[in-house]
């Protein structure tokens, strides 16, 4: 049972030109992840050959593993929902079923589940959905239900919406260009929701993941209304396990490591 393992790719589905969904199955027994935790994935696959291949052992570009949130678990393994950004994700996109990858995880802390008397208010901006989906699923699984606010730039950036619908209490969608759902930003949508749902506002816990600006706006809203809020942060990472001090974020208690004390922080703790 280790957080460092080799995994076989069991599925790698292209959702559209920019996004894919990878499923990997650990080849040795691994640890159960919590919602909000992440994995670091090596960007060299054995190309269907053997992990003893020189291509697997001696190619050092890309070098570092890439961090990805646990999107959800299926019977085929762990899923990560990812955007093709640079060379690492482009290589992962090209990995085929059966290829073997090096994985480290689950890493970091988890979103705390909402107490029984509280309602989960989930806010996702863009790929932030990857970090909160599993949380929403867990909440649904434990009999609760989450109000999900999901915003993206445009329709094609809205991912896995049908799956989301099955686990959401309510699902409010917005896009910057109005191509789907409300036009505008997800934080405005959250603000409106809270204004109209005083009970949810009074007994809610916010869980947010998305771009820095969005998280800042969420934290302002939460503060104004006195709602407990958790955000998931992102930083460049090398080790993923708290050793290199590379991934720090500024908090009211000094620098904290996103990979260790995070990625989930109380919103009020962050110095925006």
């Amino acid at each position: 049972m280790s957080r460092y393992f080799k995994a076989e790719i069991t599925e790698n589905i292209s959702l559209n030109k920019d996004y894919s969904l990878l499923t990997f199955h650990p080849l040795t027994s691994s640890i159960d992840p919590g919602p909000g935790q992440f994995y670091m994935i090596g960007c060299v696959s054995d190309g269907g050959g053997s992990p003893e291949s020189p291509a697997f052992k001696y190619v050092y570009d890309p070098l570092l593993k890439r961090p990805f949130s646990l999107f959800r678990r299926t019977d085929k393994g762990f899923q990560v929902l990812y955007r093709i950004r640079g060379k690492g994700t482009a290589i992962i996109r090209d990995m085929r079923k059966g290829a073997v990858v090096d994985v480290l995880g689950p890493l970091g802390n988890s979103y705390p589940m909402p107490p029984e008397n509280k309602t989960a208010l989930v806010v996702a901006g863009g790929l932030g959905i990857a970090s909160v989906f599993y949380l929403a699923e867990k909440i649904a699984g434990s009999g609760g239900s989450a109000h999900i606010h999901y915003g993206a730039r445009t329709e094609t950036d809205l991912l896995m919406v049908e799956d989301l619908r099955t686990i959401a209490g309510t699902l409010n969608i917005s896009t910057d260009d109005g191509s789907c759902g409300e036009q505008g930003c997800v934080t405005d949508m959250l603000g409106d929701f809270l204004a109209q749902n005083q009970t949810a506002a009074a007994a809610g816990v916010i869980y947010a993941c998305g771009p820095h600006r969005m998280l800042e706006a969420v934290s302002v809203i939460a503060k104004e209304r006195g709602i407990e809020a958790y955000i998931s942060a992102e930083e460049r990472m090398a080790c993923g396990i708290g050793a290199c001090l590379g991934c720090v974020i500024k908090t009211v208690n000094g620098y904290k490591r996103v990979c260790k004390e995070g990625p989930v922080f109380r919103a009020e703790e962050i110095v925006w």
Binding site: Y4, M237, L245
Partner: protein, 302 residues
């Protein structure tokens, strides 16, 4: 098969240690690596007082390498001794503490404080970190200043003293001789090479600190050359590092003149790397009929 080597008064079970700053305080990696298997654990650089370090981003990947600008963030010697050292004492492995200061007095005081502690077997003096304000780097780039600061530390400690050299110099051999003459028991090299990354679109540096230190496979050819140059220039043992990713890389450093090696960036790439490297060295020695690792040291055929 004999893997043991001596670094000053330190007898290491094998010649593989961790590179400072890449293995935390040991605890972080104990889940992936049997610490008792290591020749030594070298901990993250410490100073008398805790340091906040540099603003993020602190890490940028580069082709076959990475830049870091951690800025020597650390919990300070006091908290290290109280909170981290007890864990390390549980292992049979040698513990080497990497430290630095802002002045000769701070260096001496740090060395003095560390020397009294049970469970610290050696000191590695970082005179070469490139992430500090300009003036500071003179400890590692001016041989007279190097001589002075190493001499001062030498006076206050009986522990094995390893001086860690900067690669950002014209002539590493001169720096090495200055440290040796000042009483260093061993030298370690290389620290990171100062580099920089820029975002073409925002026109901003990619690191919060503007510049950072380059490590990883990209720097290995430079590290190997410097180890070889220093090996020809001094008598004290060398701890070689810079881009060691596998056992073969480590063997190359022995051949160039290193008595031991340290593994840094590789830990990030594969958390079990250092264990694999030790196993790989053993396998190499078996396959190539090398009964004693010391036979390899400085065995370059030119």
């Amino acid at each position: 098969m004999n893997l043991s080597v001596d670094i000053g008064k330190l007898k290491l079970n094998n010649p593989v240690m961790t590179a400072s700053g890449t293995f935390g305080y040991g605890e972080e990696y104990s889940e992936f690596v049997d610490l008792d298997r290591l020749g030594a654990v070298v901990v993250k650089g410490l100073s008398l007082q805790p340091r906040e370090g540099n603003p993020p981003p602190r890490i940028i990947e580069t082709p076959a390498g990475m830049l870091n600008a951690i800025g020597l963030q650390n919990i300070g010697i006091g908290r290290f001794v109280k909170e981290k050292l007890p864990f390390l004492r549980r292992f049979g492995t040698k513990v080497i503490v990497n430290f630095f200061g802002d002045s000769i007095e701070e260096y001496s005081e740090a060395a003095r404080r560390l020397s009294g502690e049970e469970g610290i077997h050696g000191l590695e003096m970082n005179i070469s970190c490139p992430n500090k304000e300009a003036g500071w780097c003179i400890f590692g780039t001016d041989p007279r200043v190097t001589f002075e600061v190493v001499s001062a530390v030498r006076k206050v400690t009986d522990l094995t003293l390893i001086v860690k050299l900067s690669p950002n110099v014209t002539d590493i051999a001169t720096m090495a001789r200055a440290a040796e003459e000042a009483g260093a028991d061993a030298l370690s090299l290389i620290n990171t090479i100062t580099g920089m990354a820029i975002d073409a679109f925002t026109r901003k540096p990619k690191l919060g600190n503007i510049t950072g230190g380059l490590s990883g496979p990209a720097v290995k050819p430079v590290a190997l050359r410097m180890v070889w140059e220093v090996h020809k220039a001094v008598k004290v043992p060398i701890v070689g590092m810079g881009g060691i990713m596998n056992a073969q890389d480590a063997i190359e450093f022995f051949i160039a003149g290193a008595t031991a090696v340290a593994v840094g960036t590789a830990n990030f790439v594969k958390p079990a790397a250092i264990g694999d490297i030790i196993n790989g060295i053993e396998r190499f020695m078996t396959d190539n009929a090398v009964p004693d690792v010391k036979e390899l040291i400085g065995s370059l055929i030119t």
